[in-house]
């Protein structure tokens, strides 16, 4: 490695902080990481702020205000590599539920004076605004994957990230299929691996927080799930959740709603 350490900047947009926290939660690796890279800008961790440009920008959160559109462009201008960190940054995340409703109505529900607020009608992924070099999904991201991405970049190789669905993780852990065996609605077959299939291991269905897998048989998934709903509208709600604005899940939910297989 060259004498000068690569610089890393960590930014927050509309989010819960959980993905940044996954960096601070690398308790065994954090001090080594701080040796390997120069943590130049990371407000949650340090008051010290070194000016850009930076080698790597890790961006948490989605774009929900006019000011954030300007800020994300500055991030891109300052960074060689931009990594979208977590499902808010890759698909809008939980905030993107507003994209299916009228946010003005929400503002009326939550705030007595919605006229004081400045926000966009939609919550959108980072890649809708700037060129993103790598997207890392998860709500929250898996810290081992964050570390893998940083290590890969430092070693100038492609990061090793799973390209399969949650189902394969269940098989590897010998977790009994909740969908087939227990008739519990689960969207693991349509969801990217990365979490370790933790929901099925606890006897509940996957709710898709790592976003859509690459190849999804949407038709057969929704047909099966619609037959086993525990309450009306469960299938659309499963797809229209944390990763609901990701195109694959968006389309599945739209298809179900438009063919009126469900009332809601």
């Amino acid at each position: 490695m060259s004498a000068k350490k690569p610089s890393v900047a960590v930014y927050k947009f509309s989010s819960c902080d959980g993905c940044q926290l996954s960096i601070l939660n690398m308790e065994d690796e954090l001090l080594n990481l701080a040796d390997a890279v120069d943590i130049a800008f990371f407000l949650e961790a340090t008051r010290a702020q070194k000016p850009g440009p930076y080698d790597i920008a890790l961006v948490e959160g989605s774009i929900t205000t006019p000011h954030e559109i300007e800020r994300i462009k500055e991030v891109r201008a300052q960074a060689k590599t931009v990594i979208a960190l977590g499902t808010c940054a890759t698909a809008g995340g939980i905030q993107a539920l507003r994209n299916f409703a009228n946010p003005e109505e929400y503002a009326d529900v939550v705030y007595a004076h919605p006229e004081y607020l400045h926000y966009l009608k939609t919550a959108t992924p980072i890649a809708e605004h700037i060129l993103v070099d790598l997207e890392l999904w998860g709500c929250p991201v898996n810290k081992a994957q964050v570390l893998e991405v940083i290590v890969a970049l430092l070693n100038n190789r492609r990061p090793n990230l799973p390209a399969y669905s949650v189902c394969l993780e269940c098989k590897r852990h010998n977790t009994v299929c909740v969908l087939v065996d227990k008739r519990i609605p689960c969207i693991g077959p349509a969801t990217q691996a990365g979490c370790g299939a933790i929901c099925p291991s606890m006897g509940r269905g996957c709710y898709g927080c790592f976003g859509p897998a690459r190849e999804v048989n949407a038709e057969s998934m929704s047909t099966m799930l619609l037959k086993m709903e525990r309450y009306p509208g469960e299938t659309t709600r499963l797809f229209r959740g944390i990763s609901g604005y990701a195109p694959t899940f968006y389309n599945i939910a739209e298809e179900i709603l438009s063919t009126n297989k469900e009332t809601k």
Binding site: K12, N25, A45, A48, G241
Partner: protein, 427 residues
């Protein structure tokens, strides 16, 4: 004219700004500008199924997701008239121990201590005192490991449901954590000793303290909402005593009492109101510290967190030792229309939820009052109290002292909805 400006306050959760306007050495205006974007959780909880709520509310905060899951679960269980089994209640307390441990270890060592030790960050501190930081990281890691064992992961765990848990955590995996917890209890006691040596700025405030109180245990889940002014309310009556208001400079809502008093929630409030319910080692550490209660210095909330760190390590050990799961981990829910409130103590303070559901279990209405929204008016009032000290300080020191005050609250701005910009202007 004097202007102090910090474009972005570091080592807090979320984004906001601070404005202090001075005239003839007196503050004419102080504002904590919360410009983190609004996130509309109460809006998009509408028309979701009640069992989805703990998974959605967890996403309000990555540092205290458990608190958001717990308050939601209790509120919805109250709406349905459901009581969880005693072992599930014990696992909820145990899970909360994990969250308090990771959140307090993070705040004490990585967010606040650098201010007291003249450092920019824990990473910088690690250069001079690597053992201190390594121990801090281990203290924090143990809390996260506990959360992972119970909930699958530490950020947005997946095991809490309305009615209890989806499944019992593995008994052996929990018991395997005991040696780490024994180490952690001693490291937490050392944290109390360290907390007593730190140079806190002087500031005494006559607060109204508000916290959950439970006669038989350190108040975290269930119990009554107690105020140091004598007001005692059931959780269902919370809104009769405490009111939220939307103010212009903020995307968060601000709270006050019915008598228009600001009030304080969080570690100082809990310690002052509930110290008799601390576990034995925590009680002993408090007695031996020589600290007199009520503790009224906001900077010294670090000490209160250190005592709580001991308490939660100690309680976790007891709960793990007593853990004996049997029968189902959750009770079956019978859906009916209803309304219910729930409150638990997040590491930052009281977190209140109320929901209305229809006969199919769909959310009709949701109200969430996060701890930081309750503390925001108090932070502004504390800054007013700090001004006489600030004006006599050099600019850099004044800025740091004001920032440190805000940080000592451990504000969770994403929860309250949003970064801090400090601006002091003297006309």
């Amino acid at each position: 004219m004097k202007t102090i400006e910090v474009p972005a306050l570091a080592r807090v959760e979320g984004e906001g700004g601070l404005y202090i306007g001075l005239e003839n050495g007196k503050a004419v205006e102080i504002r904590l500008d919360i410009y983190e974007p609004p996130r509309f959780f109460e809006g998009f909880l509408r028309d979701r199924f009640l069992q989805e709520v703990p998974d959605i509310t967890a996403r309000i905060c990555g540092i205290c997701p458990v608190a958001y899951q717990m308050s939601a679960a209790y509120a919805l269980e109250n709406a349905l008239g459901v009581k969880i089994v005693p072992q599930a209640r014990a696992v909820r307390r145990l899970m909360y121990c994990g969250e308090f441990i990771e959140s307090h270890a993070l705040h004490i060592y990585m967010l606040q201590a650098p201010d007291l030790l003249g450092k920019e960050s824990a990473l910088e501190l690690a250069v001079d005192a690597p053992e201190v930081v390594k121990n801090a990281l281990r203290l924090k890691k143990i809390g996260n490991e506990l959360l992972k064992t119970i909930g699958g992961r530490s950020v947005h765990p997946v095991n809490v449901c309305v009615g209890g848990f989806y499944s019992w955590p593995d008994s052996k995996s929990l018991k395997d954590l005991l040696p780490d917890f024994e180490w952690g209890l001693n490291a937490a006691l050392d944290t109390v000793k360290l907390a007593l040596t730190l140079p806190y700025p002087d500031l005494e405030i006559d607060y109204e303290f508000v916290a959950l109180h439970h006669p038989d245990e350190y108040g975290v889940i269930e119990g009554e909402v107690w105020s140091s002014n004598g007001r005692k309310l059931s959780i269902a009556e919370y809104e009769t005593g405490y009111i939220e208001e939307h103010v212009k400079h903020s995307n968060a809502l601000h709270s006050h009492t019915v008598d228009h008093n600001t009030y304080l929630v969080g570690p100082l409030a809990r310690l002052n109101l509930n110290h008799e319910q601390l576990m034995p080692n925590a009680k002993k550490a408090l007695a031996e510290s020589g600290i007199q209660l009520p503790l009224k210095n906001p900077y010294k909330s670090l000490f209160a967190r250190a005592i709580e760190l001991v308490h939660f390590y100690e309680e976790a050990i007891q709960l793990i030792q007593e853990y004996k799961p049997s029968g189902p981990a959750h009770v079956e829910l019978k859906l009916k229309a209803g309304e219910g409130a729930g409150a638990t103590e997040a590491p930052r303070g009281l977190l209140y939820h109320r929901y209305k559901i229809d006969a199919n279990g769909m959310i009709q209405f949701a109200k969430i009052t996060p701890p930081t929204a309750q503390n925001l008016p108090r932070i502004e009032a504390d800054l007013f109290a700090l001004v006489p000290q600030l004006i006599s300080m050099p600019e850099a020191e004044a800025t740091l002292t004001a920032e440190h005050l805000v940080r000592s609250y451990d504000p969770c701005i994403s929860c309250a909805t949003h970064f801090l910009k400090l601006k002091v202007e003297e006309k």
